[in-house]
Symmetry: C2
DNA sequence: GCTTGACTTGAAGTCGACTCCAAGTTATAG
DNA sequence: CTATAACTTGGAGTCGACTTCAAGTCAAGC
């Protein structure tokens, strides 16, 4: 049998970049299952738990409220989500949300790029807004000297770089 | 001179999809300049103001706290941001943030896709993980429409744990 | 023994971003 | 005239997500 490596809450916090307090808080609100305790009552975590925490922090980045994460955590430990059609719907619908978030973010990037390039026009991100006055100068096809900018839109697919 | 079209707060709220209360709140915290008033004290807005509100809601989608938006609103109404080097730095740095947020989001999309396709492995967004098994049963959540949740955080930030 | 450090607990406090409320004003309709 | 609607104001309340606090336990070191 394999002996599983376990971690203290401190190590777990470090590995996940989530504070100890927050981890306890997640347990308190039952987002995480009650962690096992050692004899002295200290929590112990294993890789599995760390993965769940990482998934939470991942989902958080997508703007999902903690309360709505539970089904996702279930699916993450479960086998086949296809067994739960409503879960599949949830996943799809959240996927759509994220895709449109990406689009919004990309618009902000574009806004910034335009600003950085010529800083002349306020061209909004969510809609073509006709602005009343303002004689539009069009942008010149100049390549910008930005060092940091390489605009890779949707980066790669199955990233999960490790 | 041109007759500018103006809007009531209600119309503005509708056009921007931001509630009247929130618009007043933004004014209260000086995120928006004090709106002009009519004789009766009612606020009036013009396209320019609407654009600013749209920009705020755009930046909000990128997870930027309201307090940090002020410089961006300045640059949006100002002419050339290149006159303000720190502003340029801010823009660049926020751009980087967004780009990495996009990457994170894309990872969640990938996670979901993997789940949807084969629902077999827990392939995390940030790490390869082995799949612990557990036969939880889950309850069915409502197929709720999952609306306009947006709000995300800064990217995961490279280590430098303290 | 005493102290330090890593943990435990439940409860209270904070913070950002709204959201709601009560009271008041003004314009229009009946 | 009253009533309704659309606004105004300052202030209070809510909500999600932490974060801090006070008090306590336990093991190891001096």
């Amino acid at each position: 049998m394999k002996e599983e490596h376990t971690f203290t809450i401190k190590q777990t916090a470090k590995k996940t970049n989530i504070s100890e307090d927050t981890i306890r808080y997640y347990e308190k609100i039952a987002l995480l299952p009650r962690a096992e305790r050692k004899d002295n009552g200290h929590r112990i975590y294993r890789q599995e738990d760390i993965d769940t925490i990482l998934l939470i922090s991942c989902l958080k980045k997508t703007g999902m409220p903690l309360d709505e994460m539970r089904p996702f955590l279930t699916v993450s430990t479960d086998a086949d989500p296809a067994e739960y059609p409503e879960l599949v719907e949830l996943l799809k619908s959240h996927r759509e949300n994220i895709v449109s978030q990406i689009a919004s973010l990309q618009q902000v990037v574009d806004f910034i790029d335009v600003k950085l390039e010529k800083g002349k026009y306020r061209r909004d991100c969510s809609e073509e807004i006709e602005d009343g006055l303002s004689d539009n100068r069009k942008e010149e096809p100049e390549p910008k000297p930005l060092s940091t900018s390489q605009r890779s839109y949707f980066p790669v697919s199955a990233g999960t770089d490790k």
